[in-house]
Assembly symmetry: C2
Homo-oligomer: 336 residues x 2
C-alpha cells in the first residue's frame, strides 16, 4: 500500500507545477461565464468565490502535459478543454444541490440557497450549453464524443443514485455503478481529453482513462466516508447530509451488513423510512465506528488508488507523474 506523509500538500504542489495553465484556465472560466443576462455572471461569481480545488481541470492540464502537449501563445487547447470540464462539473453541482436540497457547498451557502432553485437549474443549463460551445470551438470530434458521452453517463449515474435512495438492499455493485457514473466518468474523460490533444499511442490515452476512472472511484468513496467522519469545516458540507437524504453509500451498506438485528431496525427506520431525530446521527456514527465501516470504505478506496497509480506506470518517471501519484494518495488521506 502506497503511503505518503506529505500527501496533504500534493494538490497544492500539482497546482503550483501547472500554475500558468491554471491561471489561464481560471481566466477562461470567468470570461466564458459572461452573459448579457446579469444573473448568470452573478451566480458564476458566487461559484468562483466558493473556490473548490479545480481538481478536474487540473487533471486535463496534467494529462495533456504528461502526453507531451507543448503549449504556446496560440496553442492553448488544453486550457479551453480544462475550462470546459469545469463547466460540466459546475453544472452538475448546481443541479445536484437542487436535487439534494443542499444548503451548504464547500462550507458556503449553496447557490440554490442564495439564488433559489430556479436560478440554479437554469444557470446549470447555461453552463452545460456553454461547455458544448467550448468543445465546438476546440473542434475535435473525438473530444466531443468523449465529453458528451461522459455527460450522459453522469446524468445516468445521478438517476440511478435516486433510484437506490432509501434502499438498504442495494447491492454494492450497484453503488459502485452509481459512483462510477456520477464521479468517475468525468474524472476519466477529463484525463482522456488531455491525451487526445497529442498524437500519442492509444495505450497512453487508455492509461489516462484508467487513471481517471480509478482516481474518481477512490475520490467518491472517500467523500462518502467523510460524510460520516469529518467535521463540517474540513468537509465544507454538513456532516450527515447523506444520512438525512437516505442516500445509499458504502459506509451505510457496510454498517448495515455487519449490524445486529436491533441495529438493522435502526438503519431501516433512519434510511428506509426516513424517520430521523437529532439523536440518530450520533447513534449512526457510533454504529459505523463499531463496525469499522469507514475502514472498509477507505480500504476499497485504497484499492482504486493503487490501480490509479499503477495505470500511470506506462509513462516514464517524471516530476509531473510523481505529483499525480501524490495527488492520488492525498485523495485517500483526506479521510485518515
Amino acid at each position: 500500500m502506497l503511503k505518503d506523509a506529505g500527501g496533504e500538500s500534493a494538490l497544492s504542489a500539482l497546482s503550483a507545477f501547472l500554475e500558468e495553465d491554471m491561471h489561464a484556465c481560471n481566466r477562461a472560466i470567468v470570461q466564458r461565464m459572461q452573459s448579457p443576462v446579469p444573473l448568470i455572471p452573478q451566480l458564476g461569481a458566487h461559484l468562483v468565490a466558493a473556490g473548490g480545488k479545480r481538481l478536474r481541470p487540473l487533471l486535463t492540464l496534467a494529462s495533456a502535459r504528461l502526453c507531451g502537449y507543448e503549449p504556446a501563445p496560440d496553442r492553448q487547447r488544453h486550457v479551453g478543454l480544462a475550462a470546459c470540464v469545469e463547466f460540466i462539473h459546475t453544472a452538475t453541482l448546481l443541479h445536484d444541490d437542487v436535487v439534494d436540497e443542499s444548503t451548504l457547498r464547500r462550507g458556503l451557502a449553496s447557490a440554490n440557497a442564495v439564488f433559489g432553485n430556479k436560478a440554479s437549474v437554469l444557470v446549470g443549463d447555461f453552463l452545460f450549453a456553454r461547455s458544448f460551445q467550448l468543445m465546438t470551438a476546440d473542434g475535435s470530434l473525438r473530444v466531443m464524443a468523449i465529453l458528451s458521452a461522459a455527460s450522459a453517463t453522469i446524468a445516468e449515474g445521478e438517476v440511478l443514485q435516486m433510484a437506490t435512495q432509501n434502499d438498504l438492499s442495494t447491492p454494492i455493485d450497484r453503488y459502485l455503478e452509481v459512483i462510477h457514473g456520477k464521479t468517475a466518468a468525468l474524472f476519466a474523460a477529463a484525463c482522456r481529453v488531455g491525451a487526445v490533444l497529442t498524437d500519442r499511442p492509444i495505450a497512453e490515452e487508455e492509461a489516462l482513462d484508467a487513471f481517471g476512472t480509478n482516481l474518481g472511484m477512490a475520490f467518491q468513496l472517500v467523500d462518502d466516508a467523510l460524510d460520516y467522519a469529518a467535521d463540517q469545516q474540513t468537509l465544507g458540507k454538513t456532516v450527515g447530509d447523506d444520512m438525512r437524504e437516505g442516500k445509499i453509500t458504502l459506509p451505510v451498506l457496510a454498517a448495515y451488513d455487519a449490524a445486529t438485528p436491533e441495529e438493522k431496525v435502526f438503519w431501516e427506520r433512519v434510511i428506509e423510512q426516513g424517520e430521523q431525530t437529532d439523536a440518530d446521527l450520533p447513534r449512526a456514527l457510533e454504529l459505523i465506528a463499531k463496525t469499522d465501516a469507514i475502514g472498509v470504505t477507505i480500504a476499497r478506496a485504497q484499492t482504486y488508488a493503487d490501480a490509479a497509480v499503477e495505470a500511470l506506470s506506462i509513462f516514464p518517471e517524471s516530476e509531473l507523474r510523481g505529483l499525480l501519484e501524490r495527488t492520488v494518495q492525498y485523495t485517500v488521506n483526506r479521510a485518515r
Copy 2:
C-alpha cells in the same frame, strides 16, 4: 394580411407530407432515449405518450427538404438532427415544468408531477447530453456551433424571464428578448441546421433562420395570448398559469398599459405582489378583453408571421413551401 381558413389542418398536412421522415424521427427519438437506467426510458415514454406536435423536428426535416436534401437509406442526417432538436426541446420542457412548478403539460400530468422534480431535472440533463451525442454522431462542426449556441441562448432567455417575473415595469423589448431566447432561438436553429446539410447559398440558410425566428416569435406570442383566452382542453395546460406565476407577457403588459388607476392597482396586487384569490382570474380576463390586450398580442404575432412567410419567398414556389406558409398561419389562427 395572410388568411387561411383551412389553417387548422396545416400542421397535419405538413406532417403527412413528411410522414416517412417523421416516422424515422420518432423511431430515433424512442431508440436514443434508451438507457440501462430504467427510469430514463420510463420517463421518456411518458413524454412520448403525451404527444406534442413535434413542430421543431418538423421544421428541421422541412428545411432540409426545401434546400434539396435528398435522403437515402444511408443518408438520414436530417432525421438524426430532427431528433436532436426535439431532445433539446424536451430537456428544456422538463426543466421549465420544474422551474414553473407546473402540474399539467399538454393536458396530461407533467413529468415532475408524476416522477418528481429530481427525476425531471436529471432526465432533462440526460436528454440534453444525449442531444450532444447525436450532434457528435452527425459530425458537422457548423451544426454543433448552431445548436450549442441556441442551447445557451435558451438558458439565457429562461434566466431573463425569471428576472422579469412580477415586474410590470418590464419594457416590451425586454419581453421580446425573453421570448426570442426561450422559443425563437431554437425554432431558428431547427430550420438552419436543415439548410446546413446541403451546400446551398448562405442566403438560403439565412432565410430559413429568419423564417424560424419569426415563426418562433409568433408562436410564443400566441401561446402567451392563449394563456388568457383558451380553455384548458384546447391549450393542454391550465388557463391562468402565467398569471399565477406572475409571468410578464404581452397580454398583461398591454392590459396594464391601458388600465385605469384602479385597474393598475389590481394588476400590481396580482402580478407584482402575487396576492391572488379565485375571483382574480375572471377579473383579469375581463380587463384583458376590455383593453383588447389579446388583439394587441395577436396583431404583433401576425406581423412576425408575415415576416416568416416573406422570408420563404427566396425559395421557388412548391407544395412544401405552401405547407410551411400555411403552418405559419395556423400558428396564429390557434388564438382566433
